[in-house]
């Protein structure tokens, strides 16, 4: 307590006339975290590479060239070619578009679902809370991967067209991810509504809508941002695993997961490492970078969650 009083006094230091913003303060703190900045840089680099890179490539992702099968990296094909003679570099970038989009979109959807349901649960409590939370519990008791496998197998069974599969994969990922989000948001809501400033809002006679939108939600946003960031990494991984097993996005549409699947035999694995190393490294680098950045964000936005 003692040290803290000294420290709070110190942190109240501000120049006199400046209009302060919470976002600005957080950003400045984030800039001090070198690792987080590096993580963010990698994420930006990967995103730019995947979305802009293919425009400069002389190849297209699905152009088959039987004369150029399984060629090692060369000046013409920087990362070599695959079993159908397609340029790996171009495919990795194209796959990145899909993987990142799937990660981002399923994150957005699960954050939306999780935040909405969690907030409703925590704010209204009672029977609504019971119903939502029991559904969440049910989904959380089943391990995610087997569940996703079952969903994936169902999609294959119903012969869903490849074009739609990507969107359905997003939905699947969101469906298994929202319960965790909802739980966190609900917990936060429950603890926030007991805080004294919520009692103060009650004494002021504020409308329930105002209490929810102006007092509770802004306090949940930092948590949401952090959870959402960390969630993208998880979603990319899950999508890769599904696609690797042929249950996610189907070839010929490339994703990092189904590209690795191309090297699913010992011969390709040992003799043609350029088939699986580039997508593997892409997954690894992207997910690690996102998680490091997310950790940095959490330290800044939600210091209580540290460690």
């Amino acid at each position: 307590m003692r040290v803290e009083t000294v420290l709070t006094k110190a942190s109240t230091k501000r120049s006199r006339e400046r209009r302060s913003s919470l976002l600005g303060q957080s950003l400045r703190k984030l800039m001090h975290n070198k690792l987080a900045v590096a993580g963010f840089a990698v994420v930006v680099f990967m995103t730019l590479l995947c979305f802009i890179g293919p425009l400069f490539s002389p190849y297209t992702d699905n152009k088959i060239n039987m004369a150029m099968m399984n060629k090692a990296p060369s000046l013409k094909h920087w990362l070599g070619t695959d079993a159908l003679g397609r340029d790996i570099m171009t495919r990795v970038m194209q796959a990145g578009r899909i993987s990142l989009t799937v990660g981002l979109a399923s994150m957005l959807l699960s954050v939306f679902l999780g935040a909405l349901l969690g907030a409703i649960s925590g704010y209204y409590r009672g029977i609504t809370d019971q119903i939502i939370m029991r559904i969440a519990d049910l989904l959380m008791t089943v391990p995610n991967l087997p569940l996703l496998f079952i969903f994936g197998a169902m999609l294959s069974e119903w012969k869903v067209p490849t074009d739609y599969r990507m969107y359905l994969v997003m939905l699947m990922l969101s469906a298994v991810n929202w319960p965790g989000m909802a739980r966190m948001v609900r917990g936060q809501m429950l603890s926030l509504r007991e805080r004294e400033f919520m009692q103060a809002a009650e004494v002021l006679g504020l409308r329930p809508r105002r209490k929810l939108l102006h007092h509770l939600l802004p306090n949940i946003v930092p948590l949401l941002i952090v959870m959402a960031t960390l969630n993208i990494g998880g979603a990319i991984l899950s999508e890769s695993v599904l696609s690797f097993f042929g249950l996610g996005v189907m070839p010929p549409t490339p994703t990092w997961g189904n590209m690795i699947d191309a090297a699913n035999n010992m011969i390709d694995f040992q003799n043609h490492p350029w088939l699986w190393i580039p997508p593997g490294v892409s997954i690894f680098a992207t997910v690690i970078a996102i998680n490091i950045f997310g950790d940095g964000l959490r330290d800044v936005l939600d210091p209580k969650q540290k460690r």
């Binding site: 109240t12 501000r14 302060s20 004294e196 400033f197 009650e202 002021l204 006679g205 504020l206 105002r210």
Partner: protein, 321 residues
């Protein structure tokens, strides 16, 4: 004779203690056990007691932040606990609460100006421009500066935050302010500033305060009438001068003698009470104070003393008076 602003009759608030898987109620904490008090417009009533005396619960139950168990709270003749939520909301601006902890009472993500002005807007009491004017005016009245309006709470010291809390209550032009230990979290030099602010505002606005505190010297400074609580019950009520000069209840006497006075080597007769404050879950029988009372007799263990008038306006609950 002006009309009574606040009238509390036989207010009781019991909290159930639940146990086990199915939340069976096994016992009750009698946080507030039959409290009555009245407050005239412009008057300050001090509610004194130690931790566990239920003084804060009284404040919160009056404002209906928690539901009562029994009794009646009348504000300007209106029974607050009988109102619908919408009616209560309309009445809220007239009675405000000031919190003990200036840190947790302000939402960390709301700018000070918005925190002070939002209730005006939400109740439709002012337009945006009017509200901003009023916020600036109130900030100044509470000893803050205009440039504070766009700051966030964490940029303020404890004393300044308490001023923000006071401004937030004051801008609604209330008739009653319940102040729950508003200065006990503050340093001495800041405490004096806030106490003076309380008196100044009372004089200029004709506010009535229900001032809840454990600090007798602060209560003596601010309050016209004082009630002493022990374990959920009122043991003594009297005007300030009467209570400090002629305390009747043994607990009040002990409390008064326990307050350290900043005069070194002052020889005072001190009544040091035995033992701890009993738990309100299982309060002693008869007079709740008998376990620590230096004068207790057999009768005190068995019989609950009546709260009766011992002199003009001086009420006490003790068998020995």
């Amino acid at each position: 004779m002006s009309e009574v602003l606040l009238e509390v009759n036989h207010l009781k608030k019991y909290f159930p203690v639940t146990q086990g898987l199915f939340g069976r109620t096994t016992s009750q904490v009698k946080a507030v056990d039959d409290i009555s008090l009245t407050l005239q417009p412009g008057e300050t009533f001090g509610l004194v007691g130690e931790s566990g005396s239920g003084k804060s619960t009284v404040g919160r139950t009056i404002l209906r932040l928690t539901d009562k168990t029994a009794g009646e709270v009348k504000f300007k003749g209106v029974d607050l606990h009988a109102l619908s939520p919408a009616e209560l909301r309309k009445l809220r601006p007239q009675m405000q609460l000031i919190f003990q902890d200036p840190y947790s009472a302000l939402n960390p993500r709301i700018r000070v100006g918005d925190a002070i002005g939002e209730a005006l807007l939400d109740h439709g009491l002012a337009t945006k421009a009017e509200a901003r004017e009023l916020v600036l005016e109130t900030l100044t009245a509470c000893g803050l500066s205009a440039y504070h309006i766009d700051r966030f709470p964490h940029e303020f010291s404890g004393g300044q935050r308490q001023r923000i809390g006071i401004a937030r209550a004051l801008i609604l032009n209330p008739d009653l302010i319940i102040a729950d230990e508003p200065v006990s979290a503050l340093d001495v030099s800041i405490q004096a500033q806030i106490i003076n602010l309380f008196s100044k505002l009372q004089h200029s606005k004709g506010l009535a305060y229900l001032f809840i505190s454990h600090d007798l010297s602060v209560v003596e400074h601010l309050c016209d009438r004082i009630g002493v609580m022990y374990l959920g019950s009122m043991v003594e009520t009297a005007s300030r001068d009467e209570l400090f000069r002629h305390p009747l209840h043994p607990y009040t006497k002990a409390l008064l003698s326990a307050v350290p006075v900043p005069i070194p080597k002052l020889k005072r007769e001190r009544i040091v009470l035995k033992g701890d404050i009993p738990s309100p879950t299982n309060p002693p029988s008869g007079c709740k104070f008998h376990t620590r009372c230096p004068l207790a007799v057999e009768r005190c263990k068995a019989e609950i003393p009546l709260f009766r008038e011992a002199g003009a306006g001086h009420f006490v609950a003790c068998h020995l008076v």
